[in-house]
């Protein structure tokens, strides 16, 4: 059972001019105003980083990687946001085409980690290979473009690997923010 409130009824806070019990604490208030200035500077910095794309969907987030022979060029976002859709674009050069077909290996981090929802155009075949999926496209003419629609759900760093078989892979990482 709760104890009755037994403290005496007295002013325990500092009085202004020994007259009015306000409890004003200008020392605290000065510290708070300083803290406010720091917080507002931080907020502006956050917005600036967002505008520049440091948190994804902007200039600094966009990245491009190519293999030395230009068989594959990858346009992607090095910083993604959890739950936000994005597109990873694969540009295939003439060196990627073999007998009228283009094959590309995409590792599981792209499929599961970045939650690849669909790939367009529709590949002629897709086969489960060690650590990922290999897609095969019929290529009429090069350069050819394929797009992978992503909607990453798991925050963290994901190491992705995309490769035209027999060529040098593109290995990079994508940071997914919560």
């Amino acid at each position: 059972m709760a104890q009755p409130f037994r403290l005496p009824v007295v002013d325990s806070v500092p009085k202004v001019a020994d007259e009015v019990a306000v409890g004003e604490d200008l020392n605290f208030q000065h510290k708070w105003w300083k803290f406010e200035r720091i917080i507002w500077s931080f907020f502006i910095l956050v917005l600036l980083c967002d505008v520049l794309g440091l948190f994804g969907r902007g200039w600094l987030a966009k990245a491009k990687r190519s293999t030395p022979d230009q068989a594959l060029t990858l346009d992607y976002e090095r910083v993604e946001r959890s739950g936000s859709p994005s597109v990873m674009t694969l540009h295939f050069g003439p060196a990627a085409s073999h007998n009228g077909r283009i094959q590309v290996f995409v590792n599981n981090e792209v499929i599961r980690g970045l939650d690849a929802r669909r790939i367009s155009p529709q590949p002629a075949t897709s086969a489960l290979t060690d650590g990922g999926i290999t897609y095969t496209f019929d290529s009429g003419s090069t350069p050819t473009i394929a797009e992978i629609a992503l909607q990453p759900m798991f925050p963290g760093r994901h190491k992705i690997r995309i490769q035209v078989p027999g060529r040098q892979p593109i290995e990079t990482s994508v940071l997914v923010l919560p």
């Binding site: 202004v16 001019a17 007259e19 009015v20 306000v22 409890g23 004003e24 604490d25 605290f28 208030q29 708070w32 105003w33 406010e36 917080i39 507002w40 907020f43 739950g83």
Partner: protein
Amino acid sequence: MDTIIRAIVGYFVLLIVVRVLKRRAGSQLTPFEFVLIFLIGGIIILSTVDSDRSVTNCTCAVITVGLLHRALSWGKVRSPKLGAFLDGAPLVVIKNGEWQPEVVDRMMIRPEDIRAAARAQGVSSIEKVKYAVLERNGGISIIPKES
């Protein structure tokens, strides 16, 4: 689990943003403040429940926020410093009939706010105000000069 973490983060983000916004002198909500409250609240809701709009998820988020609020209220009772951090401290705007310029400037108080508070408390003129105190909730208490 994700919802609980998002609710905790959302609560503290909202708390710090609202806290660093200046206290609105007069504590009356104008359309200007309504816009702020609805917009910020709506945005935080989106990230808290995400795409899972089930009753279970929303109930967990509400309980989390309720528990956080209760824990902070408990902390405020036991620690005046935490109370001052979360709610602020009263500030004297007029002392012995004189403006306190630093408080007036930094808290963005207008003479109209003091006049309105004085009228509301039965004081006919700002010249009759001996003390005006900006309270933690944004209200202004007026103590008139003795006639």
